[in-house]
């Protein structure tokens, strides 16, 4: 793959780049089976996680990935940092660059902030989620998980269910899956599925249509109450209308479909309790594969701090 400093969106990458990163992720996963789960590839390199938004697993996944590549990891905790004292993003970056970071992993509630940071520093910047814009490392782990389960992504049908409108996961994951030849559809409450933005993606509003479409993978998004001012539905109504209920789980089981979810799961909202133990749930695979995918991303990026000549 061509030298690349940053990973901001899936759209920036060629299909060849995407495949290279996925192929290397397979090799990274092999490392987990060794007694020493660590390789020296990024020894002496500094990785900073800079999260302006809370994160349940992305941050720790990146940290584990960096540790397994032998990098040194610094965690920039926003609630205890100068950001709450009014320091601007630019000033924070200047400060961090003085610390000679090689990789910066950024999450911010505003779209485009990782791109701004990437333009202003020599470190390789990885977008770990910016607003409703993009979440490329999630896209990689999702594509990797589907490829691992089915051997290929091409030709698979994936329906993404939930709050599409506010979801950077839906955006990045559908981009990578379509790039790799999968078919993607959306299903969710009318106001939360964008009517025009993705004209080539089929949209459904109920489960009957979803089953009729014959998907291979049911991908549930988390209901993000923190992103919308007033919840559109009470949790119970959402579950009945769009969640995987016990009854739908039986049908999913009969049809041998896989279930995915980026986490964290709201039990009783997106998924019933039994769905968490469903035999074709790939949710735990997604977590493990997230580390391998992020190791591969870190490995393939080239910070400008490396060019000493």
């Amino acid at each position: 793959m061509k030298p690349r400093k940053d990973l901001l969106t899936i759209g920036d990458l060629s299909t060849e780049d995407v495949n290279t990163i996925l192929d290397s992720a397979t090799a990274m996963k092999d490392i987990f089976t060794k007694s020493v789960k660590k390789v020296p590839a990024l020894k002496g390199k500094s990785v900073l996680t800079l999260f302006y938004e809370p994160s349940t697993r992305t941050r720790s996944s990146f940290e584990v990935a960096a540790h397994r590549l032998s990098a040194d990891v610094t965690t920039f905790t926003v609630s205890t940092s100068s950001v709450v004292k009014g320091e601007s993003v630019h000033d924070t970056i200047d400060t961090l660059m003085s610390m000679k970071m090689d990789y910066i992993i950024v999450r911010h509630k505003n779209s485009g902030i990782p791109a701004v940071i990437a333009r202003h520093c020599k470190a390789a910047v990885i977008n770990a989620g910016d607003g409703a814009h993009a979440h490329p490392s999630q896209a990689f782990l999702d594509a990797f998980t589907i490829r691992e389960k089915y051997g290929t992504v091409a030709g698979k049908r994936v329906v993404i269910i939930g709050d599409i409108l506010h979801s950077r996961v839906a955006r990045s994951t559908s981009t990578i899956l379509k790039r790799l030849g999968a078919e993607v559809a959306y299903m969710g409450p009318g106001p939360l599925v964008p009517p025009q933005a993705y004209t080539d993606i089929p949209r459904f509003t109920n489960w009957d249509d979803v089953f009729e479409w014959k998907p291979d993978v049911i991908y549930l998004l988390r209901v993000q109450n923190e992103r919308i001012d007033t919840p559109f539905f009470p949790a119970k109504d959402y579950h009945q209308a769009f969640g995987v209920t016990d009854e739908r789980l039986r049908r999913i089981d009969d049809l041998n479909l896989s279930i995915m979810h980026p986490g964290p799961v709201n039990r009783g909202v997106e998924l019933c309790d039994a769905a968490m133990d469903y035999r074709n749930s790939l949710i735990c695979n997604q977590v493990e594969n997230g580390i391998a995918a992020r190791m591969s991303i870190l490995y393939h990026l080239t910070p400008q701090t490396q060019n000493n000549d």
Binding site: M1, P3, T20, D23, A27, K29, K34, S35, A41, H300
Partner: protein, 168 residues
Amino acid sequence: MPTISKEAIDEALKQWTGRITANIPAGDKLAVVGLISHGDVLAQRLITLLKESGVEALYGALDISLYRDDFDMLSHKPALRASYLPFSTDGMRIILVDDVIDTGRTVRAALNALFEYGRPARVELYTLVDRGGRELPIHPDVAAFTTPIDANVKVHLQEIDGTDDICY
């Protein structure tokens, strides 16, 4: 351009087989580990020849990309291939196989990678070609052919390149 023939490569692998089987220390389990990509192909051939001589050896393959010492000098990283070493190397006799040895840096990386799978009883290094441009105190136990230091050596193997020969 001088060429080493398929027959000469076959003969070299036969000699390796003889050498490996000549002194098998009692109780040592044997594994042949090839370096991706070409060493792994040679390792598979060697295992077949050993089997014909009545000696069983486990097969392993190592991708040493993550152990390179020139990471900062690479503008782009090579795609990785999964290493395959589905056994602990504790107490084993490991035959490390590669197509060419030059600086010795690849072998240094391979030894580091290998030792993360256990503590082998001994490691031997077999290469087809020795280019002789060593930068580290590492030497093969057996090198079938030697070429001048400035030679541009190309090893072709049937399984990868569709033909068996060495040009330099």
